[in-house]
Symmetry: D2
C-alpha cells in the first residue's frame, strides 16, 4: 500500500507554503467517481466553477482553468499574449520571479529583469518607481508586458500590484500587466479588475486548498485583444477554443474532472466563510507567526512591514546554521514539514506556511515544532515564540 509518511503514528503537520493541507471535505470530493465530461451533469458543474472563480479573482472577465500546474499557467499567460522576441519587463522578488523569467526566456521572449541587487533584493517587494522609470524610458513602447509576482513564495514578501498599475499608467505605457498570484490567491487580498491586471496566473494547491494540478489565467479585455495578434505557438494553452467551449460549461479537451470536484467544495468553503474573513484570518495567523520569530530573536526574511506575506513567513536562521539540516531534524523528530530556502537564500532560511485550511492551533503546533527543533539543533533562542504568538491569537 501507498506509504507516504515514515512516522509510525500521528498526524503530519504540513506547513510548507504550498501545497497546503487539503481539507477532508476537499479530499473526499476528489474521490467521487469520475463522470462523463461530455454529459449533462458536467456542464452544470463547469458553469458553476467558472462563475465562482470570477468571484475569487474579483473579475467580471473570463477565467481559464487548465488541467496543469501553476508553471503551465505561467506559460499560458505568455504564449497567449506575446510573440517570439517580444521584450518583457520582469522584476526579481525571489526564486519564483526568477523561474518565471527563465521560463519566458526559454519560450523565446526577451526578458529584462529589474530588481535590487543580491540576496538583499529578495527581502523587498516590487519597487514600482523603478518600473515607472524604466517604462518612461521606453518611449518607442518596445516593452510589451510587465510581469510581477504578487506573493513571492520563496521569501514571504508580497508586492503592491495597485502601485505597479499606477506606475504603468503614470508612464502612459501600453504594456500588459501580468501578475503571478499562484501562492497568494484566496489567501491575500487580490483584485484583478480593480488593479487593472491583464493576466493573473494562479494555481490550485495554495489558498484554494486543493492538491496541485489546476492552473488558472484570469483575463482582461486588453489581454484578449493581445491574444488575437500574439504569435507564439500555442494549442493546449490556447484561450480561444477554451473560451468557446466554456460558454456551456465544458472544455475542448479532457479537464481534470476530479480536481474540479475538489475545487467545487473549496470554493463553497471559501465563499461561505467570506473572502474578507479568509483574508483577515490569514493576516492574523501571519502576524502571530512573525511575533514568534521576533520573540526567538530571529529575523523575518521580509524587511518591509508594508508587504509582509499573509501566506508564509520566511525565517532567517542564525549565521552558521544550515537551515536545511535543521528542517531535516524537525521533519524527522516532529513530523513537521517546513519550506526550504531557495536560490539565493538556500540554507539560510526556512519558510513556515500558514495558508489555506490553517487555524490557530495548527500554527501553534507548528511553531512549537520549530521552537523545539531549533533548541535541539543547538540554536540559542531569545524567548518562546509560541508564547508570543499566543498573545496575538487570544
Amino acid at each position: 500500500m501507498l506509504k507516504l509518511d515514515n512516522h509510525p503514528s500521528g498526524r503530519h503537520f504540513l506547513h510548507i507554503p504550498g501545497p497546503s493541507p487539503a481539507p477532508a471535505r476537499v479530499l473526499r470530493a476528489i474521490s467521487f467517481q469520475t463522470i462523463d465530461h461530455r454529459g449533462p451533469e458536467f456542464g452544470q458543474l463547469g458553469l458553476k466553477l467558472l462563475a465562482d472563480m470570477q468571484k475569487i479573482f474579483k473579475t467580471k472577465h473570463p477565467v481559464i482553468i487548465y488541467p496543469s500546474s501553476g508553471t503551465g499557467a505561467w506559460e499560458a499567460a505568455l504564449v497567449n499574449t506575446l510573440s517570439a522576441g517580444d521584450h518583457v519587463l520582469m522584476y526579481e522578488t525571489g526564486q519564483f520571479a526568477t523561474l518565471w523569467q527563465k521560463l519566458a526566456d526559454r519560450l523565446g521572449i526577451k526578458t529584462e529583469f529589474l530588481g535590487k541587487p543580491g540576496a538583499e533584493g529578495w527581502r523587498y517587494g516590487v519597487d514600482a518607481a523603478m518600473i515607472e522609470e524604466r517604462l518612461k524610458a521606453d518611449t518607442s513602447h518596445q516593452i510589451k508586458a510587465v510581469c510581477v509576482v504578487h506573493n513571492e513564495t520563496s521569501t514571504g514578501v508580497t508586492s503592491n500590484i495597485a502601485a505597479v498599475r499606477k506606475a504603468i499608467d503614470a508612464a502612459k505605457h501600453p504594456a500588459l500587466l501580468m501578475v503571478d498570484t499562484i501562492s497568494g490567491l484566496a489567501s491575500a487580498d487580490y483584485r484583478h479588475d480593480e488593479w487593472g491586471v491583464d493576466v493573473t496566473v494562479s494555481g490550485s494547491q495554495k489558498g484554494l486548498m486543493l492538491p496541485p494540478g489546476l492552473g488558472f489565467n484570469a483575463l482582461s479585455p486588453k489581454a484578449l485583444e493581445a491574444n488575437k495578434t500574439a504569435k507564439l505557438p500555442k494549442a493546449f494553452w490556447a484561450w480561444d477554443e477554451i473560451l468557446e467551449s466554456n460558454k456551456t460549461g465544458y472544455w475542448p479537451t479532457t479537464p481534470s474532472t476530479n480536481l474540479l470536484y475538489g475545487l467545487h467544495e473549496a470554493l463553497d468553503m471559501i465563499l461561505t466563510e467570506g473572502l474578507d474573513n479568509v483574508f483577515a484570518r490569514h493576516q492574523r495567523l501571519a502576524k502571530a507567526c512573525r511575533a514568534a520569530v521576533e520573540a526567538w530573536g530571529l529575523e523575518v526574511q521580509c524587511k518591509d512591514p508594508a508587504v509582509y506575506s499573509p501566506v508564509l513567513t520566511g525565517v532567517v536562521t542564525p549565521e552558521g546554521v544550515d537551515a536545511d539540516k535543521l528542517r531535516k531534524l524537525i521533519h524527522e523528530r516532529y513530523n513537521l514539514s517546513l519550506g526550504t530556502g531557495l536560490g539565493k537564500v538556500k540554507g539560510k532560511m526556512f519558510r513556515v506556511g500558514h495558508l489555506g485550511d490553517c487555524n490557530e492551533l495548527a500554527l501553534l503546533g507548528a511553531l512549537s515544532g520549530c521552537e523545539m527543533g531549533m533548541k535541539a539543533f543547538g540554536i540559542k533562542l531569545k524567548g518562546s515564540g509560541v508564547v508570543a504568538a499566543q498573545d496575538l491569537l487570544l
Copy 2:
C-alpha cells in the same frame, strides 16, 4: 450535506479521552464497500483480526468482538459469567466505575462498591489492600467477581491490576477478576494473561483509534468455565455461539463489517509501531501534559504519581471557575474539544486526551488552546504550560 463542525475553516483538534481521532488510513478502510460476511474473503479477515486482538490483550485465550459499544461489552462480561443475585465486589475509581456498577445493578447483580469516600476518592487508583481485606472476610466465598477499571477515563487515574490479582490470590479467594480497560487498551500497558484477568472489557474508540461501535471481551479458561453455569439470560452477548463460529473466522450474527475493516488497519499500524513503542509514546506525551499543568500552577486530578494515566490528564480548574464554560469558550474560539468533568467532579475539571493517533505537535497545539483559553477566561496562570511541555518533548 453532513455538517459536523461549526467552524468555517481549519482542522478540529479532538482531545477528548475518546473517541480519539481516527487516522486517515482507518477512516479510508471503513469506507471500503461492505462485503458478504459469509463469503470466503470475510473468513480470512476474521481469523486475522481475532489472532491480532490476542496480541493486543496479551492473551493466548479467545477474544470476543461485538458489534456494540463498550457499554455492551461491560454487560457481556457480566451476563456470561454471573447469575441473578450474585454478589460482586466493585471499586469506585470514578464515573465509569460507577456506571459499570449501576449497569450491574440493573442486571440484577448484587454489587458492593468499595472505594475511598467523596470526590477525593476519585483521585486515586484501586487500593488493592481494601480488596484483599474484604475478600479475606468473605470466608463463604459469596463474592463471585471483583470488577475494577484499569484506566478510569473520568479522572485520568489508572489502577494496578497486578496488585489486585495478588490481593485476590493472597486472600485465596475464587472470585473472578474482571477488568475494564476500555480507554486503556493499546495505550497503556496491559497483560490479560500475566495479570490473571478473567474477563477484560474494551472498546474500539480509544487506543485502537477506531470510531465507536466495537466492544471486546478477552476471556480466561476460568471465565469460560463460569460461563457454563452462569444463569443471567443472554443471547446476543452469549460467548458460546460466537466462539463456535469464530473458529472459521465468522460470526453467528451479522458483524460490524466496516468497523472490522478499520480494525484491520489500526492493528496493522499498532503492531508495526510495536506495542511497547506505542506505550512509551503515550507515557511521553502524558508526562509532557502533566508538566504543562504544573507550569500553569494547576493540579492534576490524579494524586498518585504511580498511577498517572498515559491516556488522558485531568486538569483541576481553580476554585470559582466553571470548567464547562471554559471548555465551551475553548471549543468555540480554538476549535479544540476537551473532555468534561463527570459526576462528582462536574464543572471542576477538564480532561485532555493524548491517546491513540496523537503526537507531539498535536498535543502542543492542544495545550496552546488550553493555555489561551484559560487566559481568555481570566484565569491567572503561573507560567507557560506549552514551554514546560516542550522541554520534555525535545
Copy 3:
C-alpha cells in the same frame, strides 16, 4: 493492505439480501472524522436522525437507535417488554423467524412456534387466521406478545402485518405485536402506526443502505407501558435511559458515531427520492427478477404471489443441483455474491438481493451472472431470464 476481493479487477456485484451495497455517498460519510458525541454539533445530528427515522417507520412515536446489529434489536424488543417465563406466540416463516424464536428461548421466554409444517411452510407468509384462532383459544391471556417477520430474508416471502393486527383485534387479545422488518424497512412498504405494531425491529444494512452496525426499535405507547413492568434484566438495551437522553439528541452511552453519519446521508437520499418511489422501484426490480426465474423454467421460493418480497427473490434450483456449489462457481467466475439457502432449504436455493441502492443495470448484470453460472454448471434453462427481465424494465 486490506484485501477484500480475490478478483484481480472489476467491480464486485453484491446481490445478497443484505448487507446491500452502500452508495459511495454513504461510504464517504462514514469516513468523516469522529467528533465528540457530547459536543454541540452531535446533538443537532441526533435530533435530525431521530426525527427522520420516524418518517421511515411511519410513526409518531419514538425510535430507538442502537450501536448493534439487528440481532441486538431483536433482543432489545423482548427484554424491554417481557418477563422471564412470559408466553410468546411466534410464527415460522423461515430461518430468521426461527433464529428470533431461538433467541427468545435463550432469554428465558416461553415461545410457541406456529407455522405450516416442513420446508413447504417456508414458501408462504404468516397465516393470520392461525394466529387469530390461537389467540381466541387463549382466553386467560397468557400470551403476552405475537412476533412475526415482515420480510423473511431467508426465503423472499413477506407477511401481511395489517392482517396480523386484524387477527389480534378480532381475537380481542391484549398481546403486543412485535414485527421484525430488518430486511424490509425502506424497501418494502411498512407502516408502524397504521398497522398497530408495538415494537418494530430493524437494522441498517438492508434498505437503509448502510454497513451493518445499527439496530432499531420503533415503539408504541403500549410497548412503553409494557416496558414499565417488564422484568427481564436489561441495561444496555434499556429504552428508558435512551429515551431520556434522546430528547436533546444525545445517547446515554457512546453511539456508533460514524455509522450515524452514514445514516444521515442514507436518510437524505431515501427521503429525497421519496419513500413511495423507493418502494415502487423495489417492486419493479423484484418483478423483473421473478420474470427471469420463470423464463429460466425455475421456481420462485415464495408460492403466494400476494406476498412476493420486493427485497430479494429466492430461486429454487433443480433437483440434484447443489445450490452452494453453484453459488461458489458464480462467485469465483463472475464476481457476483448471491445469498445461500439457509436452514430447511440449505443447498436447494439461492437468493438474489435487489434491495437498497440497486437499479436496472445492476440487477440485469447480476441476472446475467446467474444465467451464465447455471449454464456453466450444466443446468438446462428454458430460456433467457435476462431477456425476460429486460421486457419488464423497458
Copy 4:
C-alpha cells in the same frame, strides 16, 4: 454538496471509452493528504512510479509524466522533437488523429494528412503501405516524423504499429515515429521498444483507470537526440529539466501529487494482475461486445477484424436513428453513459467502452442498457445481444 448524478438511486454505469471508472482503491488513494513534493517520501514514490511506467510502456528508456491531460502530452511530443515549419506525416484514422493534426498545425508544424477518403476511411486502421510509399517518395527526407494513433478512440479501430515501423524501415527513412496510445495503453498490447517507437503519448484516464490529469511521453534515444536540435519553444513541456530532476524521483515543477498516488495504486493493480492477463481480459470483453452488436443485427464501426479495438466498440446505428438522442434516452432511463459519435460519424454511432476496471457483469449490464434503450427508441433488433455476449463469457 457536489451532485454529480441526476438519478435518485443506483450506481452509474460509465461506459464511455474514457475516462473509465476509477476503482475504489484508486479513488481512495487520490484522497490521501497531499505531501511535500520536495520531501523524502516523495522521492521514493517518484522513483517507483517512473520505473513501473517503463514496464507499462515496455521500454527501458525514460518515461515523462506531466501534470496535464493527454492533449498536453500530444503537444509535448511535438515541441520536444520538432522545429517550426517541419514537415510531418500524419494518418487520419478518426477524430483523435484529426485533433492531433490540428494541434500540430496550430503549433506551426506543416502536416500532411494521409488516409482513406470520407467517413469510410474511419473504419480502418493505418495502411502502412501508404506510409511506406509516401516515405520512399520523400528522397530528400523532408518528413521529420510519422504520427499515428494506436487506438483510435473515436471509432474503436486500432492500428498495427509494428507494420508502420516496418514501413519506415523499408523506406530507409530517418523520420521519427510518434504514436498516440492515449486510450490504448494498459488495455491493448503495446511495445514501445520492440516496435521502435520514438515518442509514445498517453494519458491517465483510460487503461490506467485514473481520473484525467496525467499525460505521458515515452522516449527513445533517437527522440532524445532530436530534442537537442528541436527549436519549437518549450518550457513547461521541456524534457531536459524533467529528466534531470526525475533522476532522484522529483520534478522540476509541482507535480500532480494526488493523481500520482492513484497511479501508484493503479500500477500495482495492473502489474499484480499481469499485463498479459489485462490484455486478454480486454480482448475477451471486446469480443463479447462485438457478438452483441452482431446479434442485434447492427454493424461494428471497425471493418477490419485484424484491428478491432479491445478498448471500445463503435456501434453503427440504423439509418434514420439519431444516435445522440438514443444515448440521451439510455442515459436518462438506465443511468448508463455511452460515448458519442464524433466528427464524421456524429449522430451515426455510439461507442461502448469496456476498458480499465471492467468485468463481465458490468459489460453485460451495459449491453442490457443498450438493448433496452434501442427497443424503447423503436429500433428493431434481430436478437438479444446480451445472450450472444454471454455465450462468449461463459
